[in-house]
């Protein structure tokens, strides 16, 4: 079997078959359950409010997916180093590039699991409202590059910082900074700094697209710039991860 596939399967297996990975999934699903129950507890929601609920669930799924990705990414190399399994991995007949692509495969598997886990929630809160199909499609379209980008950033930091704790802390600080649009409404981001931040932040691109599509029913043509920002983020973090793993020292 291809070494990349082997490593990716091992990474995915650790998420789906290990007690630790399943406990993470359980925690994420409990968060989604509590959030859904809180968001829909108001039975007097108007049609627009329902779209707002779907938008908030989409943003939360993206943030939780990114959180899972940075945890997996931070553990990817530094975790192997701390468990003493990095040396055997490097001595195996695999190149550093194959290792990093295999780890990236594990990230993809993690996001696929998170996405599938979130679909029942999106369906439950949005089934009788507006733009549910678009919500499911755009969560995949924008959530994938944003979440995987955070995972690749975690892998890069994990290779450079050599300890899980340092990599995780740095990744989480970055995630909290970039995910701040979830907490700050659009009106709070109208200053010059806020607009500049929105213009380059992939997380802002994703949540602004969710808002634009689900609440305002705007077409894909209006999301092209935001999609480009998300894809640039994905490519930059992937390059950063590949270079970091290739350059890492034992």
């Amino acid at each position: 079997m291809n070494p990349i596939t082997l490593i990716a399967r091992k990474e995915a297996g650790e998420l789906l078959m290990s007690g630790r990975g399943l406990a993470w999934l359980l925690a994420l699903s409990v968060i989604m359950s509590v959030l859904s129950l809180l968001l829909v507890s108001n039975t007097e929601l108007s049609l627009l409010d329902n779209a707002q609920v779907v938008y908030m669930v989409m943003g939360t799924v993206t943030a939780l997916g990114a959180l899972l990705a940075v945890v997996l990414g931070s553990d990817a190399v530094a975790g192997e180093r701390e468990r003493g399994s990095l040396m055997p991995l490097l001595l195996a007949p695999v190149t550093p590039s194959q290792i990093v692509f295999g780890k990236m495969g594990g990230q993809v598997a993690g996001w696929v699991v998170m996405y599938l886990l979130s679909l029942p929630y999106v369906w439950a809160v949005g089934s009788s409202g507006q733009n549910l199909t678009q919500a499911v499609a755009y969560l995949a379209l924008f959530g994938t590059p944003v979440v995987l980008g955070f995972g690749f950033l975690g892998i890069a930091l994990s290779a450079r910082l050599r300890s899980v704790r340092s990599a995780l802390l740095t990744s989480l600080i970055t995630l909290m900074l970039l995910a701040s649009p979830l907490l700050l409404g659009p009106s709070l981001r109208q200053s010059a700094i806020g607009k500049l931040f929105d213009a380059v932040n992939p997380f802002s691109a994703a949540v602004n697209s969710f808002d634009s599509v689900v609440i305002d029913s705007q077409p894909l043509a209006m999301q092209i710039n935001r999609l480009a920002i998300s894809l640039v983020w994905l490519v930059l973090t992937a390059v950063f991860a590949i270079r970091s793993v290739r350059k890492m020292e034992i």
């Binding site: 789906l16 078959m17 007690g19 399943l22 406990a23 999934l25 359980l26 699903s29 409990v30 989604m32 359950s33 509590v34 859904s36 129950l37 829909v40 108001n42 039975t43 929601l45 108007s46 049609l47 627009l48 409010d49 329902n50 609920v53 886990l117 029942p120 929630y121 369906w123 439950a124 809160v125 089934s127 009788s128 409202g129 507006q130 609440i215």
Partner: protein, 177 residues
Amino acid sequence: MKKIVVSLLLSLSLLGLGNAWAVDSLNISLAPEQANPPSPQMGDWLKFHSVIENSGSQAAHGVVAWISLVQVDPGHEQPVDLEDWSAHKAVTQAILQPGQQVKVEWPMRLIQAGAYRVVISAVDRETGHVMTSPFVDFQVRRKPVVDSGRILPVALGVPMLVLGMMAWRRYRRRTGV
């Protein structure tokens, strides 16, 4: 004294004539489209048609017409912010010659249940007050947007599914399957 009173009355009547011209300068009609659903509910689209006609003898400059929506449910009377209801909230016309008409279509997405009254208002540069169309009333039926029957099974079911996977894994480890 009589001269003063007559002059005053004459001035007032002239002012009245001026106002009468202003009142009659723009005629605004408003009617719902025939294809509108007879009993609309939240999420439906309604269209209204209006004709703004200069029925006066002078050209009207800088005409602005806009749509307004008021909720009239007893105890909930309030103007409605059209931000989410319609992207087409106003039209402008630089000049409207005597007898000239402008036909306007006003689409609207129904966001909230309730009883509503829609009206088109217009002003021009010369007239000192707002001219309005007749009202059109409509009722929006509530559409259930939150199905708690779906949310509770999902909110409980997904964590239970993951717990089931954990139990299955533990069982496999114990039995060595």
